[in-house]
């Protein structure tokens, strides 16, 4: 078994720790860093509750080995807030009732965040496609899609799909 020292940035702060190589990023974040806003659902890359941004891209933290994050940048939902101020996406989720139990919410918002950075004014179809890999057992998705479109604000015409 290999144990190794890794250092990475978590929500802008440098973290340095020793981890066994077979530990996943999900468990490093939750168990070693206390980042419990990262949720464990399926553990197989399907549900999206463990989504984090790795160098800006959404990944399943349950499918990344700890040594892979050495020297890289990890952002969890907490990293989108500025102090106590919520991110506009979070505000929109609250305003639209897009969270019920809230278990899918961190992954949903991070996925939406990455989408809006790549495509600031997505169509409804773009949003549905982007979050297709984030499962929600409560809301029926409509309010989530509404919230993401509201956070994007008016821009290019939407397709109404």
């Amino acid at each position: 078994m290999t144990e190794l020292a890794i250092a990475f940035t978590l929500n802008g702060e440098r973290r340095a720790l020793r981890v066994p190589a077979h530990r996943t990023l999900l468990h490093v974040l939750r168990d070693d860093c206390g980042a419990v806003e990262v949720k464990e659902g399926c553990g197989e890359g399907v549900c999206g509750t463990c989504t984090v941004l790795l160098d800006g891209e959404p990944v399943s933290s349950c499918l990344v080995l700890a040594p892979r994050v050495a020297g890289r940048d990890v952002v969890t939902l907490r990293g989108l807030c500025e102090g106590d101020a919520l991110h506009p996406l979070q505000e929109a989720f609250v305003a639209h009732g897009a969270a019920q139990c809230g278990f899918c919410t961190p992954g949903m918002i991070l996925t939406a965040y990455a989408l809006l950075r790549e495509r600031p004014h997505p169509t409804r179809a773009d949003v549905r496609r982007a979050i297709a890999g984030n499962l929600c057992r409560c809301t029926g998705y409509t309010k989530i899609v509404d919230a993401i479109l509201a956070a994007a604000g008016p821009g290019e015409p939407r397709d109404g799909a």
């Binding site: 078994m1 290999t2 190589a21 077979h22 890359g45 996925t111 297709a132 890999g133 984030n134």
Partner: protein, 292 residues
């Protein structure tokens, strides 16, 4: 569940990686994007003594155009294929196929080399590479080999790779003039593996008749299947959708679908026919759009 502990190596060069695999033998598993290997590790379906992480091997990330061929490095990620980054834009079939893989997180990390080496019978990229007449480049302690895709996929989750060999790249002939492509896939939900998917390439001559056609299917047997009889019968025809439907209906589909929890063999066979016609028709329409 955490994976069973293993030794972890991250070699800095391909030569080092290959020699490590040579000395560790069957006890070691290469790691690319981890999007198939990590679930196998955490479900403890595989318990390697060592993992050889390929992520430092920048030489496997290159995409090169060399005359009429495109060489795509093993570590090129699904997302780069989907976006058609750099010279990848020259291969629209690969672009369309990659966009259908799993979810955005899988595509952010999963690699073409990993998908081909894993050889899932329902996976998009193995069938796409078959339809494109690709060649798989591998490197082992004993040297390099170039294996035609037809021989590379040997059986269910089984390839011609030896335990001490790495897949380094895939070489694809670039499409000629008046060539169209299409992928038609059926899956139950967004992000699921395909039940059946058809990958078609059609090239027309100046008169609008089929000069060459290739079609490969995923989900219709342990390895991707090419429909040789259909391909041959299309040559020389003006490929309207009716004509394609007639050809497909009158040729035996050389497939051996299995029944499983996802679909019966009969349903897969039905889908194979329907999706083959749709993919060929759309590929032909794409080829016509180039004009004479």
């Amino acid at each position: 569940m955490p994976a069973v502990p293993f030794d972890y190596h991250a070699p800095a060069t391909l030569a080092e990686a290959v020699s490590l695999l040579g000395s560790l033998g069957e006890d070691a598993k290469p790691l690319a994007g981890g999007q198939s290997l990590l679930p196998l590790l955490t479900l403890r379906l595989v318990r390697p003594r060592a993992v050889v992480d390929l992520h430092r091997l920048d030489e496997l990330r290159a995409v090169r155009r060399d005359g009429g061929t495109l060489e795509v490095g093993a570590l090129v990620r699904h997302r780069a294929l989907e976006r058609g980054e750099g010279p990848l834009v020259l291969c629209p079939l690969l672009q369309e196929a990659a966009a259908l893989i799993g979810n955005v997180r899988v595509r952010a990390l999963g690699t073409i080399g990993g998908s081909l080496a894993h050889a899932d019978p329902a996976a998009e990229l193995p069938a796409a590479v078959r339809a494109l007449d690709g060649t798989i480049l591998v490197q082992g302690a004993a040297g390099a080999r170039a294996i035609p895709a037809e021989e590379f996929f040997a059986g269910l989750l089984t390839t011609a790779l030896r335990p001490d060999e790495l897949l380094t790249a895939v070489r694809l002939p670039l499409p000629g003039p008046r060539t169209g492509h299409a992928v038609e896939e059926f899956s139950r939900r967004a992000g699921d593996f395909a039940i059946v998917a058809a990958f078609a390439v059609v090239q027309l001559d100046a008169a609008g008749r089929v000069a060459a056609a290739r079609v490969a299917l995923a989900g219709c047997g342990p390895t991707p299947r090419r429909l040789d009889a259909v391909e041959r019968a299309l040559v020389g025809l003006a490929p309207s959708e009716e004509e394609i439907r007639r050809v497909v209906a009158h040729r035996p589909l050389e497939i051996e679908p299995d029944s499983d929890v996802h679909a019966s063999a009969a349903y897969r066979r039905h889908l194979a026919g329907v999706l083959t016609v749709r993919a060929l028709a759309r590929a032909a329409a794409g080829a016509r759009a180039f004009g004479p």
